[in-house]
Symmetry: C2
Subunit: 428 residues, 2 copies
């Protein structure tokens, strides 16, 4: 992973090299804190040691009984789904991967009608074993399998904590299972069993993903100038302090579209607290040049755009043409066009004074993805240290969970009563 901050200098908001030099002392102190947390396996910081502590053999062993299935279905939500989906959607495989991470009846019905249930592995993922959406979906999937004459106990992998419903279920039915590591919040679990089991089922090289993560670990250092991940974390923090309220993350690769979603969770849930935080906006290049770019360039100067690309792509030539005014395209390639648009967009933002940061990886493969995911996690942890927020918790989501549970008759909660008292101003 390489980071280029050149286009965040002297923009609005913007950095100067003097800003970065001053910040670098704080980066050094934060790095010590982070390295200490990693060494002591502290809650959250432990996530940054996963490239060394995750056990690929355990993952391979757990999936070994499933002989190259036609499809894999992840039943999980949030951090229990996004890491796996990021890898699935980035890497090609002849094992199709699906995710049930919502409780939408129309979607669930359509998906279950299409899935080859007899040759699908269901990976149900919930650390606590009580996540309402995940368990509800799992019950529905299990019933669909029974209705289709499929023995669900032969087709289910369980990824969960040491205790709880799902652990007991796995024990009772002797299901293959994987542990969710301790001390790792869901959004930081991509490089653990949670993110890697599906990759293994799809035939991807899990060890290479972890090797990429270790590349990222090795590049952490006490100066932002020596560590691409910290450079990204420090620059986004400093820009946010100066008014970049939105971080538009714009990969120039369709295969990284889910990565932008994963990033959005990481950034929003880790840093959005105490009235602080930077709003992630998911974008996609070049497509969103025809959608969001007008706003980024000419709207309120409260944005940073993170442009991400692989430097190696497949070679697809654009055929020669006699269509008027398009001859310049002929003989070029789709990748050449996409890269020209990447650089043009960078320059176009810079010319309008909008800060943008370039993040490059060599290609979209297991190793580079491992490094990219690790790098963004480390950037996020650094940002959290600099902002002095509690990076690894998510207290604000509890209120709604209680309210929903109360509404469904799962107990008495004052939050559910607040729902009943909703203020109305209806226009029909």
């Amino acid at each position: 992973m390489r980071v280029d901050l050149g286009n965040a200098l002297e923009t609005t908001p913007g950095l100067t090299t003097a800003t970065l030099d001053r910040l670098d002392d704080r980066v050094a102190a934060a790095h010590e804190r982070i390295a200490g947390g990693m060494a002591d396996d502290e809650f959250g910081y432990a996530a940054l040691t996963l490239p060394e502590t995750a056990d690929p053999d355990a993952i391979y062993a757990a999936v070994d009984g499933f002989d190259r299935p036609e499809a894999v279905l992840t039943v999980g939500i949030g951090g229990s789904a996004l890491g796996a989906a990021t890898l699935s959607n980035a890497l090609e495989s002849d094992v199709d991967a699906y995710v049930l991470d919502n409780v939408d009846p129309d979607d669930a019905r359509a998906l279950l009608a299409d899935l080859p249930l007899g040759d699908t592995v269901v990976n149900v993922v919930s650390k606590s074993g009580t996540t309402a959406e995940t368990l509800a979906n799992f019950l529905v999937v299990r019933e669909a399998m029974a209705d289709a004459g499929v023995d669900w106990t032969e087709r289910t992998l369980v990824t969960t904590g040491e205790e709880g419903n799902l652990r007991r279920l796995a024990d009772r039915h002797d299901l293959p299972s994987l542990p969710v590591p301790d001390g790792v919040p869901g959004r930081f679990s991509a490089l653990s069993t949670v993110g890697l089991a599906v990759a293994a089922l799809q035939g991807h090289d899990v060890e290479a993903v972890l090797a990429g993560g270790r590349d990222g670990m090795e590049s952490l250092a006490g100066s932002l100038y020596d560590s691409p991940a910290y450079a990204y974390g420090a620059a986004t923090y400093a820009l946010a302090q100066r008014g970049a309220r939105t971080n538009a993350v714009m990969p120039y690769a369709e295969s990284l579209e889910t990565f932008a979603e994963w990033f959005a969770q990481l950034w929003a849930e880790s840093l959005g607290k105490d009235g602080l935080g930077q709003t992630p906006a998911r974008a996609l290049g070049a497509t969103d040049q025809h959608s969001q770019l007008q706003l980024y360039r000419a709207g309120p100067p409260d944005k940073l755009v993170s442009l991400i690309r692989p430097t190696e792509r497949a070679e697809v030539g654009i055929p020669e043409t006699d269509l008027d005014g398009l001859a310049y395209l002929g003989g070029s390639s789709l990748g050449g066009l996409l890269d020209a648009e990447f650089e043009a967009t960078e320059a176009s933002l810079a010319a309008a004074g909008v800060p943008n940061v370039r993040v490059e990886i060599d290609r979209v493969d297991e190793r580079a993805l491992g490094e990219l995911l690790f790098g963004m996690e480390a950037a996020c942890v650094l940002y959290g240290e600099l902002a002095s927020v509690s990076t690894f918790t998510q207290p604000a989501v509890e209120w709604g969970k209680k309210a929903a549970r109360g509404l469904l008759g799962g107990g008495d909660f004052a939050e559910a009563e607040a729902v009943e008292q909703k203020r109305e101003l209806r226009i029909d």
Copy 2:
């Protein structure tokens, strides 16, 4: 379409009924301006007359020669793709719909390898006939068809303006073609040939979509209290004025995920200018409760959340279970759970003082989608009037187009030189 502003009252930022009452005089004046523009078929405003002026018979006639294909591929970008994709992804069909709206060689290669080219209709969409991405992709698709022994002239529909490359191509090869209406910017073209041809190819009821649009037209009135679309436009404008810089659009329906993308283009490209505008953030309920909600609830008070749902859903029961602590789910349904989460999230945001607006449609079908798309377009036009911006133009995207063209050798442009002079600050 129904709008409920109750949870945007007395939040931070927030509205009062007095604010809305004062604003209503300006809504009346803006409505006169809009109605006048529609009556005179003025540029942009003409888009709001499409439910009456679009000709479903012409669309049916153009696609009539394609006997129920296995798949439809839209080759277009931005407004030339998103309207059609919104309808495709919302409505079920046994004709699969794909979109090539990027110039990613890896993605294009994978898609072309999977497509049944001999039974796919390619709809190439570009008003000018010169959009670089679209034409490059079209040339690649045409070559892939030739390589597969498919006569592309038998499988191509052209949707373009009255003149230009694509029009000439259609004439030369006698291809079925549809006109892009005059006076309608791409992002406002969902209810025209641009958005509806694919729907017709997929067997959807195009007349019902337009009837829904007419429902929306009829509900426009000189007061925000009488018009759901204007209520939404006025409230989002007033909230933006008071600090809601981000509008997180969160449909509680997987089938509306692309609608959120369509909305993001509409909002960003129409309103993001002169340093003004509101940043659309695409979210999805309930999934993003486990991702973005922490930030929305506890991050900077600079957001509005728009929660959208259909009130009718498929019935998928959650099976009874003896799993500890989950008995409350059994006997409920996925839809019941999703609706409880919708209402819990609304209340949870309100309890934290975060403004949120409820938008409801009866169900996800052709008619309701037509009304929803029209309603959001009208809301956007009203917002633009209230903010005094040039809603229907997108001047800020031109710079990058010239730069990219220059980089590819398509002419001499100063913008391309600026790209070469990029400032660097690399951290490797």
